[in-house]
Symmetry: C2
Subunit: 419 residues, 2 copies
């Protein structure tokens, strides 16, 4: 397959080149002008920006079901009166359909890979294979120091591990997903640590999202949440910690030394009033920082293009300094950095890398003129601008149409009338 004459964001320096891209066996075989190899298919990309597939490093895709459920209310009220009661009602089928809807939305914003933590996670896996994105999926373990609950959580996790092993799909990867240091017992976290080594898989967890939870951990254990993770053996290169809003400089140093990853989720942190992640400090201390949308209940989208813009704007205003973070640093957080965390040879358009690519149609009023393609990508583009998407060299969306699922059917399912 050849993508012809696109404006390409090439290599890990994100150089803009007008070139062809040859894809073979799911891999980027060649990037160059006028490639003349035989091809089953040639895609004209002359009015497109060709970007590396984006990686949404922290989300709960099926929470699109709860999008807009309650707004502008304090966090505890939001969780206790709206989100949790509704979640308890969710059935397996709901999760399946919610994931389909969320993945369709996410794919249209250029996402090829995502990290998800939720329950009924097998349904998430099924939908992921159908839509054709690459998921790193984890059953969200919450034991609340209840011994019996821990047994259930361990069983669910082991069951899902077996499921992933059995289906053996290149699109479904297993991750361990203890919910957070304040919702999981020490025993739970230690079990996760042991299994992470045994199974050699990533561990994703919520870390220091709110000031309150950090204070609770300090009070309960006499240490920071990061010290606690170190204590239970989770502070290493397998760790993908979401949020990190209230991480201290000392914790950032520890995470950097351990080659762990922190996932910044600006929209969710802003909407829930959690705080501003110390991005500049984290990057300067060498922390591997990725980007995530979190769930649509607190975002309220799964739009990684809008998330990149927001990540940049938030830092600029927080520091009163428009130069505090560069567009290229933001783009790395959605590509190179999470790819490293997941051990994927993706996130870069370059010979030998996995063919995870998105084509953005520049023939749109908000994407012209072409003063700077990188700027258009970070600051002007939005979900829906991606009209062609490749995962593992397979076409998921072509010229705006899904080739993998029937999008109309999915939308019909959700377009219920409110009288």
């Amino acid at each position: 397959m050849i993508i012809k004459n696109g404006m390409i964001i090439y290599g890990d320096e994100f150089t803009i080149v007008r070139s062809d891209v040859l894809i073979e066996d799911g891999v980027i075989k060649e990037v160059g002008k006028n490639i003349r190899a035989p091809a089953d298919m040639v895609i004209d990309a002359s009015s497109h920006l060709v970007i590396p597939g984006l990686i949404n490093a922290h989300t709960h895709v099926s929470m699109v079901l709860l999008r807009g459920l309650a707004e502008d209310v304090p966090l505890q009220e939001w969780l206790q009166n709206y989100i949790w009661p509704r979640e308890r009602e969710l059935k397996r089928k709901d999760i399946y359909w919610g994931t389909l809807l969320g993945l369709v939305e996410m794919a249209r914003s250029g996402v090829t890979t995502f990290v998800d933590m939720y329950f009924h996670i097998e349904e998430v896996a099924k939908a992921t294979i159908e839509v054709g994105l690459r998921g790193f999926l984890g059953y969200g373990m919450v034991d609340l120091e209840n011994r019996e609950k821990l047994e259930v959580e361990i069983k669910e996790t082991e069951k899902f591990y077996e499921y992933v092993t059995k289906i053996n799909s290149p699109l479904v990867n297993f991750v361990l997903a203890p919910h957070a240091p304040y919702t999981c017992s020490l025993e739970c976290l230690k079990w996760v640590s042991k299994k992470a080594n045994q199974w050699n898989v990533p561990v994703t967890i919520h870390l220091s999202e709110t000031k309150k939870e950090v204070e609770e951990i300090r009070k309960k254990y006499g240490m920071t949440p990061t010290q606690l993770l170190d204590e239970v053996g989770l502070l290493n290169e397998k760790l993908i910690a979401a949020h990190g809003v209230w991480l201290s400089e000392e914790e950032l140093r520890m995470l950097s030394s351990a080659n762990a990853t922190v996932v910044h989720c600006p929209a969710s942190n802003m909407k829930l009033g959690s705080g501003v992640f110390p991005l500049r400090k984290a990057l300067d201390l060498g922390v591997n920082v990725a980007l995530g949308t979190d769930g649509a209940a607190s975002n309220n989208t799964l739009d990684m293009l809008r998330e990149m813009r927001l990540a940049s704007l938030l830092q600029k205003v927080a520091h009163l300094n428009p130069a505090i973070v560069k567009s290229e640093e933001i783009l790395k957080m959605a590509t190179v950095n999470p790819a490293k965390a997941l051990g994927l040879k993706s996130g870069v358009i370059k010979e030998g890398y996995i063919a995870d690519l998105a084509l953005i149609n520049l023939r749109r009023p908000h994407l012209l003129p072409l003063n700077s393609p990188t700027s258009l990508l970070i600051y002007s583009a939005r979900g829906g601008d991606v009209d062609t998407l490749f995962v593992n060299g397979e076409i998921v969306i072509l010229d705006g149409e899904f080739l993998t699922v029937n999008e109309e059917k999915i939308l019909d399912k959700f377009l219920k009338v409110i009288e």
Copy 2:
């Protein structure tokens, strides 16, 4: 004309009702179920959200020409090395085409009315009439205390006033537009004040955008920028002051008492690192607050839907409080409040109001399910979701296609290849 069976954001309380809307002679004649009046045209809105046309109360539309010109650089460097040199090169024709492109983008985000300040402003007026939006347009006066320059600025302003009077279009309204207290002489501001009363027109100005300019004004005049406006006779209900990031509580009280309007521009304030507008305090003190995108050089879009979301998210994180501002307050800033400032009977879908309306197609993955239409509008919708737009009861966009201008031709003009 009848809009049939839409989900309508009705009245100034923004109640959600499923209804028809009857439009006659540019006015909303009736809102109700099963309207059976004779109609030239019936638009099926059964999968649409029908919202009041949005008002972009501060922008420089043709600056889309400079979109992405320079990113992530300090403000003074950005202005002096990139924006100003490029602006000096802009010809009348550039402004005309830039405005066409910008208006097409803006219309697709639901904007029916906008306030613009720029040079070659007659070209902006021409493009506005062609696209069919309602502009409040002002020639941006900058005299830098240079007597000769002031004469030129006055002449340009008077010339444009005559032009607007002569063309007598319902779509083009004249406003006075002195650039800012730090770029205009006292004499200039006093002339504007006199003319505002004589011509009975609004005055738009940049006010307290950066900390630096506020300090300069204090040093030079020994008063706050708002006191200065009061001094020259501009502090009244005609005033539409953009930004207001560094307004003190005392200034907010003065603006409130005077029934003046402040236009919050969150994206621009964030991107340029200007600061956080004290929105909660302004609203609590009774200030009439509107919303604007500013120009695309610092936004980098003219997307009022994304602007509403950002306005809300910014306050929530700045106050670490998700309840600090309500969706309805944000929506008023884009509708009711600026309509009041401009003396327009619009911004509300209700019998007797101007038929400025936008239809958002909900059959989109990021706009489902329909837990809350208002939440979808504020937090999930984005430019491009509007597929039908009415201004003064005239159709500008129908089912995604512009009826007024040839969008393809405009895009062609700007889609130049970068080699």
